[in-house]
């Protein structure tokens, strides 16, 4: 337990000395992705081997240790999940990819004892070897601010966080600055909410600060519901203390004494890392009563979601914390005025809070120097879909789409042609080839009818059917519609019905126009953000790929994705009339005379494709 600023500073100095004495650091990625690949077994094996070989290794960071040691750590997500399990060696900055348990012995012998790189485990691309993480093209073009420590420190240790300067921004806010000054710096930095809408965080803070109330709350939205987005998950798992620190600073700035973090239930690891982090901060006295001997007290709770996408909407999220169904409510009153339990509340997203300690320490000018005018800072994106390098990335606001897709992402998988990228999840829109030069920031995206959303970028190549993608998103929002308002509840249902008809080959002339009309109506009249933005994927795919919709209505899926629009037929010239196909057909749609070409009755065929694989002469073709 530390009771004063000096004690915290002493602890930091001691821990930093401890960190410096760890002359070699072995960081095993323990993010959700790498754990799925077996990284915990690798960690345990390394620990076992180090013990066996009597190497001087430490797991927990010590204050002012006497001897040098090897630090063995479980760290957060590096973002390069596809190449996992990942292992980083510091201070060299080497990154080993796709590490297997069998490699552990060699890593100990050659790298940890011998100090040499094992080239086989380094990242390879086009015949080139990239031993250093920072040289890998995927990382080279990135600017990591929020994710700076993700993958570089022990994600489960407050001591590691303090050693690298953690909680120093909180300390400054608490001792050296007035609440007004903290608000001013955040406001001046131009930091906009990273959860989607991009509302300036400083203005929210200022409003809450000015309001008189017996109780105020700091709310952290970790209900990252957009399918295809996992930035917040990685931050909560990889650097949980920076989120806590950001919330504490918000508490100092606004006079709030209680905070809530709402995390979706699908992120069990994030919940456990945050719980652990809160416990550690409480034990040290950084969360609790009279923090560091001041009169500032702060309590922090974690709430787990229960599987409702709408709870990412802040008023629905608040209802959920209060123990209600997650229904959004009409605004005003705004959340900042009347939020959680009817009290003034600062609602920000995980990534927004994670930026705060850095802004306090480095100043608003530094933050503004990153990014583009009116869109300062960086943005983390989850780059997924049909792309070569899948993973978590962070680039300055305003980076052109082209750079993200090609320089960082490495282009489409298998050299396929880029078709579109879905940005902003089910509330966003798609960007196409014509947008490759577009800077990715709030304002530029708004102009073309898309939003940054929470930052999911799902890349689609030439083989992706855009009508099916639109149906997929509509199906998602329809399922997740909470049912409170009619436009969203009924409107999305009707839109989905039409889309389902179109992809199953039953589209009609005029369907596109009805979709357009419904989309405008829902956007104009739905109650909350989820409903208002639900038609966006349909609207933007109609705008950019109207020809695909028209083709479907005529009975053709240009990419051959939509099963029900497929036609299976027998090539007369290749068929030898062996009857094999007719015997496997589950609906007796194939008939003919032995030794003469068989035919498929298209009215009976269910397009299951069972016949295609059985034909020994490859005579059955799909179009």
């Amino acid at each position: 337990m530390i009771n004063s600023r000096k004690e915290l500073q002493d602890l930091r100095r001691g821990l930093k000395a401890g960190l410096d004495k760890q002359t070699l650091k072995v960081l095993v990625c323990a993010g959700t992705g790498c754990i799925a690949g077996g990284s915990i077994d690798i960690y345990n094996r390394l620990s076992e081997l180090m013990k066996e070989k009597e190497l001087p290794y430490t797991v927990a960071l010590e204050e002012d240790p006497h001897d040098d040691s090897i630090g063995l750590k479980k760290c957060g997500c590096h973002g390069f999940c596809e190449m996992g399990p990942l292992l980083r060696i510091d201070p060299q900055g080497w990154l080993y990819t796709k590490v297997k348990i069998e490699d552990c012995e060699e890593i100990i012998e050659r790298t940890i004892i011998g100090g040499e790189i094992i080239e086989r485990l380094a990242y390879h691309k086009n015949g080139e070897i990239y031993p250093k993480q920072d040289d890998i093209p995927f990382y080279k073009k990135q600017t990591r601010v929020v994710l700076e420590h993700c993958g570089h420190i022990d994600a489960d240790s407050i001591r590691d966080y303090i050693a690298i300067g953690g909680y120093s921004a909180f300390e400054r806010a608490l001792f050296d600055m007035s609440g007004d000054e903290v608000v001013k710096i955040v406001k001046d930095s131009g930091l906009r909410g990273r959860g989607g809408a991009g509302f300036p965080a400083g203005i929210k803070w200022e409003t809450v600060r000015k309001l008189q109330s017996d109780k105020k709350y700091i709310l952290c939205n970790g209900d990252e519901g957009d399918p295809g987005a996992f930035m917040d998950r990685s931050i909560m798992e990889g650097d949980p203390h920076c989120v806590l620190e950001g919330m504490l600073i918000a508490g100092v700035a606004t006079g709030a004494s209680e905070g809530y973090i709402y995390v979706r239930a699908e992120y069990p690891m994030a919940v456990s890392r945050l719980k652990n982090a809160i416990k550690q901060a409480e034990d040290l006295g950084l969360i609790g009563e009279n923090i560091l001997g001041t009169n500032f007290s702060f309590k922090l709770h974690i709430n787990r979601g229960a599987g409702a996408f709408v709870c990412g909407e802040e008023t629905a999220l608040i209802a959920s914390i209060e123990g209600e169904r997650g229904f959004p409510r009409v605004r005003p009153p705004l959340t900042v005025v009347k939020g959680l339990f009817g009290k003034p509340t600062v609602p920000n997203n995980v990534e927004t809070y994670a930026n705060i300690p850095k802004i306090i320490n480095k100043g608003s000018d530094w933050f503004k120097s990153l990014g583009s005018p009116n869109n300062s800072g960086t943005k983390a994106f989850a780059l997924t879909g049909n792309i070569e390098n899948t993973g978590l990335i962070e680039v300055p606001m305003g980076t052109p789409l082209k750079e993200v897709i090609y320089s960082v992402g490495g282009g489409c998988r298998g050299g396929a042609e880029f078709k579109a990228v879905q940005i902003g999840g089910p509330s966003g829109g798609c960007l196409t080839k014509e947008h490759l030069e577009l800077p990715l920031d709030y304002d530029s995206l708004k102009k073309v009818g898309a939003i940054i959303g929470s930052g999911g970028l799902v890349v689609m190549d030439e083989h992706t059917c855009m009508v099916e993608v639109a149906r997929f998103f509509m199906n998602f929002t329809q399922n997740e519609s909470c049912g409170k308002c009619v436009p969203c509840r009924e409107g999305t249902k009707r839109m989905l019905e039409i889309l389902e008809r179109i992809v199953s080959g039953k589209g009609k002339e005029g369907d596109i126009e009805i979709l357009d009309e419904l989309a405008d109506m829902i956007s104009a009249t739905a109650l909350c953000g989820l409903g208002k933005t639900a038609p966006n994927p349909v609207k933007s795919t109609i705008q950019h790929f109207r020809d695909e919709y028209e083709a479907h209505i005529k009975g053709i899926c240009p990419t051959g994705t939509c099963k029900k629009l497929k036609k299976i037929y027998i090539n007369k010239d290749l068929c030898k009339g062996c009857s094999k196909c007719s015997r496997v057909c589950p609906v007796n749609a194939i008939s003919g005379k032995i030794k003469e070409p068989f035919v498929i009755d298209q009215t009976k065929c269910i397009k299951c494709g069972a016949c295609v694989g059985t034909c020994p002469f490859h005579a059955i073709e799909e179009v």
Partner: protein, 161 residues
């Protein structure tokens, strides 16, 4: 109705949350973790313990997708059908799983209560798409054939139990 349900665990959960009505979601989550579903018998008990109406408790339990009033299988397999997994072909995986276990969109749990197959909108492991989880353990980069292998393995585990 099954009246053999042991409610002492529910008591403990209610107490841990100080019988606060706003804790309803956490209470239901913990009840579900204990029984693997929310038995209907616990509703009168929970509502009394939290001082809310039974209708309110039901309304919350049925609103959130994670809550199940039906018993689930020993192995709960959740196939991710988020955008990233969807564009990397998660549906063939789901179809194979359902056909192997003779399940469908309507019938999610096998009669012997060994397997439940559900979809989930995103597990946030998009870098490893397509993924599925078996009781929260993530299986990366799945294919229909890997799924068949997995089912075989799980069935063997059941036999050895």
């Amino acid at each position: 109705m099954n009246s053999n349900i042991d409610l002492s665990e529910v008591d403990r959960i209610l107490q841990a949350h100080g019988h606060s009505p706003q804790a309803i979601i956490s209470v239901l989550q913990e009840v579900q973790e204990h029984y693997h579903y929310i038995p209907r018998e616990v509703f009168p008990y929970i509502s009394k313990g939290l001082g809310i109406s039974e209708a309110k408790a039901y309304s919350v339990a049925t609103f959130y997708e994670n809550f199940s009033l039906e018993p689930k299988g020993k192995y709960v397999i959740r196939v991710c059908d988020g955008t990233a997994c969807h564009v990397r072909k998660s549906i063939p995986i789901l179809e194979r799983l359902r056909s192997e276990l003779k399940l469908s969109e309507e019938k999610k749990t096998t009669d012997d209560l060994n397997f439940t197959v559900e979809t989930v909108s995103c597990l946030g492991a998009c870098g490893l798409a397509p993924v599925l989880t078996v009781n929260d353990k993530v299986y990366p980069a799945m294919t229909p054939d890997k799924v068949s292998e997995l089912v075989k393995k799980l069935k063997e585990e059941l036999k050895n139990d």
